[in-house]
Structure formats: structure tokens, C-alpha cells
Subunit: 198 residues, 2 copies
């Protein structure tokens, strides 16, 4: 009950204040509980966003997936995401739908990807272009959700999860750790971190 | 002027009747012109859908891209799509937005992918699992549009087009023509064509 109240307060606070400006303290105040209780029930702000929106992949889960054997990294990340994203009833769809149709939701989603996901996992990846590598992998995973769960295009709609993990895993591996060839100067500069002034 | 009237009539007809049931004849009637004039101005029903929605990749363009040298197939497809999708002012976003928020637009989009794109290009690909191969490639391309153009996540938002073509091309190549390993029976059955009864 308390947890549900905290998650509802978090959704309201993120929608009103955006990802960066929403604080644990403000969320606790909205829920009428002590900030320590928020941390006890849900943990960090990243985890709070994930839990409140049923986001199919959490920064903490990604960090755990990144810490295992490198040869199966792509498969672990693909399985983690696809299993959660393809679970019936996931409200991830309304998050993407909101991002496409209103600016507030779009900013919230972008901020969570840039601050909640990239800032958390990029330091665990050794490559200087880690940010764009994660986005190349992420764009494929989000696209699979769109084609399979939202549009329901056959035969992707009914494809076996193990099959998808096996074929998509090597793509994720290549993006996260493989040789992407030489990068043009501009892309590498952009890929090294957020642009100046942000 | 006639072309604009035909495209407006096509959008209305596709929205009202869906992709499969909308006919060139009905679109011509809506525009108040002869069906021959529709074919003269825009060509096939697939091309009419593409032109009316500024869809970033056309079945005819894909067929042309597939007919060249196999070693650079992925780069050609990636360049064709990314160039069109990343052009400012492309209304592809409203097509995806509609697909996420209303059932009619979702069915229209899915029917166009299944009938307009897959039915046209799958016969040009030799693999028995060509349908799901095209969808794996397409899901990545659509996801890139979402991350870059809709959400505007940095550094993908400002990444160089040539860089993206170079890194994404091999992924598209692998999905369209590479070794995807052995498929489980269920996925292969689903991948061979639309399910029975459709």
C-alpha cells in the first residue's frame, strides 16, 4: 500500500518536474511519507522511475548484466530487456506513446535515458564512445518493442523469445564491445559525452 | 495540384478503409479524378501509401537497394532509410505517433509493413526466414528514428549520417543475408510466411 502510494507520487512528481528536477524529498512529501521510507521501499531515483513506469530495463539490472562474462554480454542484455518488455500488461507502451505525443513526456523519457541510464552504465564500459554504443543497442531494443508489442507485425509478434535472444544478442555485443571501425571526428566528439553547455 | 489532391484522398481512404481494403479506384473517386491519373501521378498502391505519409523508405527503393552488390547491401539500405528518415519535416513521426495511440492507425501501419513492404521485398531475398530477417533489420531502423528524431537523445541526435551508415550497415547486412544460427521450429514456421487463416 505504501509502495503503491510512493509509486503514484513518483509518477506525478516526474510528470510535473521532469526527471532531473524531481527529488526523493518531493516525492516523499507528495506521498506523505518520510524520505527514508522511499529509499527503503524503492531505492534510488533511477529505480523509482523504473518501478513507477514499469520501464522494461533498469540501470541496476544493466550494471549487473554488464559485470558478467564478456562473450555472452549481448545475450544477457537482450534477454533481460526482451523478457521484461514482452511481458503482457507492461505499461511501457504508454510511456513511449506519451513521448511521441506530448513534449513533457518526451523530455522526461529523454532525460531518463540520458541521466538515469547512460550516466549510470557508461562508466562501466571501457570504450570512449560508450554513450553512442549504448544508444545503438538501445534503439534496436526499443524498435523491437514497437514492431512486436505495439504494431504486432507477424512473424515477429509470435517469434520465440530464445530465438530473438540468440539472433539479437550478437548485435548488442557488437555495439557494446565490438569493433565499430574508425569514427569520424565529429561523431567521436559527440559520442564522448553530453555536448558542452548541458 | 492534382498530385496533392490524390495524396490527400489517399490518406483519407487509407485511414477510413485500412491498407488492404483501400483501392486505387476508391482513392481516385475521393480525389475526383480518373484511376489512370492516380497511377500516372503516383504509381502503385504501395507508392501511394509511401507518398501520402512521407514514409521514409519505399518498397520500390528497397527492391532497388537489394539488387546491387551483396557486400554493401546493409550500408545501402541504412543510407536509404536514414537519409530520408532524418530529413527535417518528415511526418513519419505522426504515423508512428498515431500507431501508438489509436487502433485504426496501428492496423494501417501494420498492414502496410506486412503487405506493402514484406510481401514486396521478401520474394527478392533467398532465405526461408526472410520475413523475420527484414523485421529484425526494420526494428533497428525504426528504433533509431525514435531515439534520434523523436526523443532527440544525445549523442545520437547529432551523430554524423556517414558514421551511422558505417556502424549500422553491418547489422542490417547480418540480418538480411548473414548466418543467424539454427532457428527453433516454431520461429522458422512463423518466419516462413503469415500464419494460416490470414
Amino acid at each position: 500500500m505504501t509502495r503503491q502510494a510512493i509509486l503514484a507520487a513518483a509518477r506525478a512528481a516526474f510528470a510535473a518536474d521532469g526527471y532531473e528536477r524531481a527529488t526523493i524529498r518531493a516525492i516523499a512529501a507528495r506521498a506523505g511519507v518520510d524520505p527514508a521510507l522511499v529509499l527503503h521501499h524503492v531505492g534510488t531515483k533511477e529505480e523509482l522511475f523504473v518501478a513507477a513506469h514499469d520501464f522494461p530495463i533498469s540501470p541496476a539490472g544493466l550494471v549487473a548484466a554488464l559485470s558478467g562474462n564478456e562473450g555472452t554480454l549481448g545475450e544477457r542484455v537482450a534477454r533481460l530487456y526482451l523478457t521484461a518488455a514482452f511481458t503482457e500488461g507492461s505499461p511501457f507502451q504508454s510511456l513511449i506513446g506519451g513521448a511521441l505525443t506530448n513534449t513533457t513526456a518526451r523530455d522526461l523519457f529523454r532525460q531518463f535515458i540520458e541521466r538515469g541510464i547512460l550516466d549510470t552504465i557508461v562508466p562501466r564500459l571501457p570504450a570512449p564512445d560508450a554513450r553512442i554504443r549504448v544508444l545503438l543497442a538501445g534503439s534496436h531494443l526499443v524498435g523491437l518493442f514497437l514492431m512486436r508489442r505495439v504494431l504486432g507485425v507477424e512473424p515477429l509478434k509470435d517469434a520465440d523469445l530464445d530465438y530473438l535472444v540468440a539472433v539479437v544478442g550478437p548485435t548488442i555485443d557488437r555495439y557494446l564491445t565490438g569493433d565499430l571501425g574508425s569514427l569520424p571526428g565529429s561523431a567521436l566528439a559527440g559520442a564522448a559525452g553530453p555536448p558542452a553547455g548541458r
